[in-house]
């Protein structure tokens, strides 16, 4: 494996790992002060349990073999890892993709903030990772040829749909799972009558900064090489996020009268989500349009939950699901392989007709139906077994104290003594 690529993927992997704490702060700041630690722990739990699940089974089931629907056990328990082989370092790719596996269920936590039992979440994460994330990843990216390189035998990927860094596999998948989770776990006490404004916007902005930084590793690393496609994905990530944040701010200024920090942060994340599937398939001006479209659509999509009455507390559906879908479908218009040295089909605007648009639609429709149904069933099963919801009293006193026996902010002297 060439040294440049090895170095870039090592750095990218660490950057993607950093996104999970970034997401934790992004969500944690939006939470009320008595539930912040629960939100952080739900996210950190994902970087504890998922890497182990990924090493034991996840990676192998998501990539191994040459099937259409699910991988094999060639790489289970970290077998058959080569470190520096000609086909690329399997161990490095496994580690890099493990970071993606870890952050994907973490995205869902925003929809069920302030009311889910931690024990239920702790079980949900590894089960969801194996039963939902792993098969979807195989359908889109899976399959390894006899030469040890990626062979794209999964039934969605081999049909021709595109997903550069995980717009469908990660954001649409986790976004629709978040909707199912919000429906099963139910509304927060008092929602929507009571206000639940963010307790710390500075935390949200720190989280946004970490996410944006890490996202360069997420998207540009997904080139799996230190080459021109990585540069293109890096630039697209930069421009789409800026365009998304800018457009959301403009929408707010016109609609509500002020430019807000939460609007800027949400627009940046919406732009990042939307460019994720497209990052290595579109050229830079297209990235600006895709980011801007996501900022515009998501700024309105976050109000759907009030009209439809589901408590997606921190707008995982409005930002990740809708943003991911916007980006993924727009590939059908903007894909421009000739300009990027890629071999996929062209989008509608570049002479490819409607083929790609149709395949993008199919891949997302399948992922939505599968992920929603499976997530709903998994959570219903956990609910029947141990319950997914904290008691009313625990919700009132806050999940920090009731689930973790900790509090976020201990100011002053009159706090506690040792038992």
């Amino acid at each position: 494996m060439n040294p440049g690529t090895t170095a870039w993927l090592l750095v990218s992997a660490a950057m993607v790992l950093f996104m999970t704490p970034g997401l934790a702060f992004f969500y944690g700041g939006m939470d009320r002060s008595r539930n912040v630690l629960n939100m952080l722990m739900m996210n950190f739990w994902c970087v504890l349990i998922v890497p182990i699940v990924w090493a034991l089974l996840g990676y192998s089931l998501a990539f191994g073999g040459r099937g259409s629907f699910i991988g094999n056990l060639d790489f289970a328990f970290l077998r058959n890892m080569d470190i520096t082989g000609d086909g690329g370092s399997r161990l490095l790719v496994l580690v890099y993709l493990g970071m993606f596996a870890a952050i994907t269920p973490a995205l869902i936590s925003g929809a069920i903030a302030d009311r889910m039992k931690f024990s239920a979440w702790a079980i949900f994460v590894p089960v969801w990772s194996l039963l939902v994330y792993t098969p979807v990843v195989f359908w889109i990216y899976g399959g390894i040829g006899s030469d040890g390189k990626n062979a794209l035998t999964g039934w969605l990927g081999s049909r021709g749909s595109l997903d550069f860094a995980g717009g469908t596999a990660i954001h649409v998948n986790a976004g629709i799972a978040a909707l199912a989770a919000a429906l099963v776990v139910g509304k927060r006490k008092g929602w929507p009558r009571e206000g639940h404004p963010p307790h710390s916007m500075p935390l949200v902005m720190i989280g946004t900064g970490i996410l944006w930084f890490g996202w360069f590793g997420f998207n540009a690393g997904s080139a799996l090489a230190a080459d021109g496609v990585a540069v293109q994905a890096f630039a697209n990530t930069f421009f789409a996020a800026a365009a998304g944040g800018l457009v959301w701010c403009l929408v707010e200024r016109i609609k509500d009268g002020h430019v807000t920090n939460l609007g800027a942060a949400s627009g940046i994340v919406a732009g990042l989500v939307a460019i994720t599937p497209a990052a290595g398939y579109v050229a830079q001006m297209s990235a600006i349009w895709i980011g801007a479209a996501a900022g515009l659509v998501c700024a309105f999509a976050v109000s759907i939950k009030f009209k439809r009455g589901f408590d997606d507390s921190l707008d995982v559906v409005g930002v990740h699901f809708v943003g991911g879908l916007v980006g993924s479908l727009l590939i059908g218009l903007f894909a421009q392989p000739g300009a990027l040295g890629q071999k996929n089909a062209e989008g509608l605007f570049y002479g490819g007709g409607t083929f790609l648009l149709r395949e993008q639609f199919i891949a997302n429709a399948v992922t939505i139906a599968f992920s929603f149904t499976m997530t709903f069933l998994i959570l219903k099963a956990i609910d029947a077994a141990i319950g997914v919801r904290v008691s009313e009293e625990d919700e009132e006193s806050g999940l920090d104290i009731s689930q973790h026996a900790e509090t976020s902010y201990n100011f002053g002297e009159v706090t506690m003594g040792r038992n």
């Binding site: 206000g195 404004p197 963010p198 707010e252 609609k255 509500d256 009268g257 002020h258 807000t260 939460l262 609007g263 949400s266 700024a299 976050v302 109000s303 009030f306 707008d315």
Partner: protein, 112 residues
């Protein structure tokens, strides 16, 4: 003895404290409080959702003084805390039956 209680705008605390010190008030207690009067609250907007904040942050000052000093203390607070804008707050005076200094056990006016 009188207990003077004043609710003022937080950014006026320094002015009020300096004015009271220079007129010889030797101690006061300050708390951060929230409340509303005729000013009402304000609205905040997060992702397009408006939240009404009814209780605005204010500072409460309490000082126990001699009966004879009370009118001057009230006047000093009123002039130092005044911005001529709505929401400047209020000052009120309460009679105090007894005061004890904990360290010495002194009682009444000597303890103030």
């Amino acid at each position: 003895m009188k207990l003077i209680t004043a609710i003022i705008k937080p950014f006026k605390l320094d002015d009020v404290k300096s004015a009271l010190k220079s007129m010889g008030v030797v101690g006061l207690t300050v708390s951060e409080v929230r409340g509303f009067g005729r000013q009402g609250g304000h609205t905040e907007t997060y992702r397009g959702t408006e939240y009404q904040v009814d209780f605005l942050p204010k500072v409460k000052i309490e000082a126990v003084v001699d009966d004879a000093d009370a009118p001057d203390v009230v006047d000093t607070i009123v002039s130092a805390a005044n911005t001529d804008k709505i929401g400047d707050g209020k000052v009120w005076v309460t009679s105090v039956d007894e005061v004890v200094r904990i360290r010495t056990g002194e009682r009444g006016a000597d303890a103030v």
